[in-house]
Amino acid sequence: MSVPFKNLDSVPAPALDVDLSALGELRGSSVRRRVVVNTLRVLFLVILIGGWELGARAKIIDPFFWGQPSGIWAQIVTWVTEGTAQGPLWKQIAATLQEAVYGFLIGVVLGVIFGVVLGTNRFLADILGPFIKAANSIPRVVLGSVFVIGMGFGIESKVALAVVLVFFIVFFNAFQGVREVDRDIIANARILGASRRQLTTSVILPAALTWIIASLHTSFSFALVGAVVGEYLGALEGMGLMIQTAQANFNNNGVFAALVILAVLALTAEALITWLENRLIRWRPNMTTEGTL
């Protein structure tokens, strides 16, 4: 059989024959820009923390009520070297992380399942819609008290709170993602021979994945919130308990120190999710990194 398609469209591949000197110049200017941006970032941090520290030392800011960076640092050092009031620091971090990760995973799985099922089943979505909206509108952190009373001071109540917080974020994103799948792409898959199941796994899920993964960024911080608030309300270990203890002792540096540790955890998780995102959605057009946070 002959090859009917001989002449390709004029662009055989994304342009590769770039003027090298121009490229070098561009790269030089982008390196310079990056150096300036990073220098200014460090400067911003120095002014912020330095100002706080100086203000506290000059008694403009009362360190008893508002803490003091050197005191926060000293508190972290003490926790690392001597442990916290309720045991070694790493155990507290591990407890909180475990609750957050369990809550995150369960919440994500449930959210995706419910999102896809309701997104593809209009009838079911119509029935359950008002209930989900009502459930979403209540301040769910309050459920923490319910879970602590019902499930006790152990890990279950914290995981449950994290699940509830994560579920709705992921659910709404998955639901929307499924609804937004291009109708022609669905019709195309059906005509190509996709069964209902194949349609869900090979078309709807991958299409909704952009939305789902976008929701993971916010939802891990919410899992942490769930774990910490759950511990705060009643626990035997964890970062939330450390915060509660520090608050009870009017140790504001302790509260801030715990916050710093939680921020590091959240940022690490965020970096992991970004890495996962770039691996899973490789088919997406490359977005320029300039101007993103």
């Binding site: 059989m1 002959s2 090859v3 009917p4 398609f5 001989k6 002449n7 390709l8 469209d9 004029s10 662009v11 994304p14 291009d182 022609d184 792409i185 019709a187 195309n188 898959a189 059906r190 005509i191 190509l192 021979g193 996709a194 069964s195 194949q198 090979s202 078309v203 991958p206 299409a207 994945l209 959605i281 490789r282 088919w283 997406r284 057009p285």
Partner: protein
């Protein structure tokens, strides 16, 4: 003019629409009639172009043949059988880029056979063959966003033709392409089609494209659509889409069909003006 309708001989027809009417409910609660008593039959191996003013129900006609939608009244038959659901004999090329953006060229082309239960290795072999046939060899691992519009159209052609459809439905497939690429794709479509025995229904609003490609051109009325006229295009094959329009017979046919189409286009235009007022 509209005399080549010959219902009753269903077995010998690849596609038959018998007095089909299609109505939709509008968001405001009214009823919109897209097709009214439309009858049309297409022979096996025939290339049929359907032209009509915008919004004349051309796409609706295709969705009834493909089984994506059902007629409100009347009957749609494919290969002598009433259309119930999506027939495995049908292929559909969409106006938009309906390829899967998260799959490579190879993944897109082999999707059909894989959905239909072909063994993975066999599906891949067939897909590589089709990728070569549409001129995309070497691009197997690219993702759709890395390709030009014309190349993405080749992907959808390969993706559809790999299933060896006996009915090929095309909904303004090249309308989003620039003029040169469109002519090129027209030629390549004719080449591919000549190696198959598929019946083609090619919907377009471009009369020139319709005459250059088809054996017959069907003119639809402004909505609700029904068949206004059917014209046999007696131009010799193989044709060169970019040159055939200089053929005197082409010009003659164009004039003749345009006379018919113009009044419908005017009606449709007047209506759109009134609606926007």
């Amino acid at each position: 003019m509209a005399s080549s309708l010959s219902p009753g001989t269903s077995a010998s027809q690849a596609i038959e629409l018998r007095q089909v009417t299609k109505q939709f409910r509008t968001p405001t609660g009214g009823v919109y009639t897209a097709l009214r008593d439309l009858s049309l039959s297409i022979r096996p191996g025939e290339f049929c172009a359907v032209v009509g003013p915008t919004g004349s129900g051309k796409s609706t006609t295709l969705s009834l043949i493909s089984g994506l939608d059902h007629p409100t009244r009347g009957e749609a038959l494919v290969m002598g059988q009433p259309v119930e659901g999506i027939s495995p004999h049908v292929g559909f090329v969409f106006q938009t880029d309906a390829v899967f953006p998260w799959r490579s060229v190879l993944g897109n082309v082999e999707a059909g056979p894989l959905y239909r239960g072909t063994h993975r290795r066999e599906a891949e072999r067939k897909a590589r063959d089709w990728i070569t046939r549409v001129g995309l060899a070497g691009f197997e691992d690219r993702y759709p966003h890395q390709l030009s519009g014309g190349m993405r159209k080749r992907v959808s052609l390969a993706q559809t033709l790999i299933n060896e459809p006996q009915i090929l439905l095309m909904d303004e497939p090249f309308s989003a392409l620039d003029v040169q690429t469109r002519v090129l794709m027209g030629n390549e479509l004719l080449n591919l089609w000549s190696t198959t025995s598929a019946s083609v229904v090619f919907v377009t609003h471009d009369l020139e494209e319709a005459i250059a490609l088809a054996d017959r051109v069907v003119v639809l009325t402004a909505g609700p659509a029904t068949v206004k006229g059917i014209y046999t295009i007696d131009l010799p094959r193989p044709r060169n889409v970019s040159e055939i329009r200089f053929n005197p017979r082409f010009v003659e046919l164009y004039h003749e069909i345009w006379e018919d189409l113009r009044s419908e286009v005017m009606i449709s235009y007047e209506r759109s003006l009134q609606e926007s007022r």
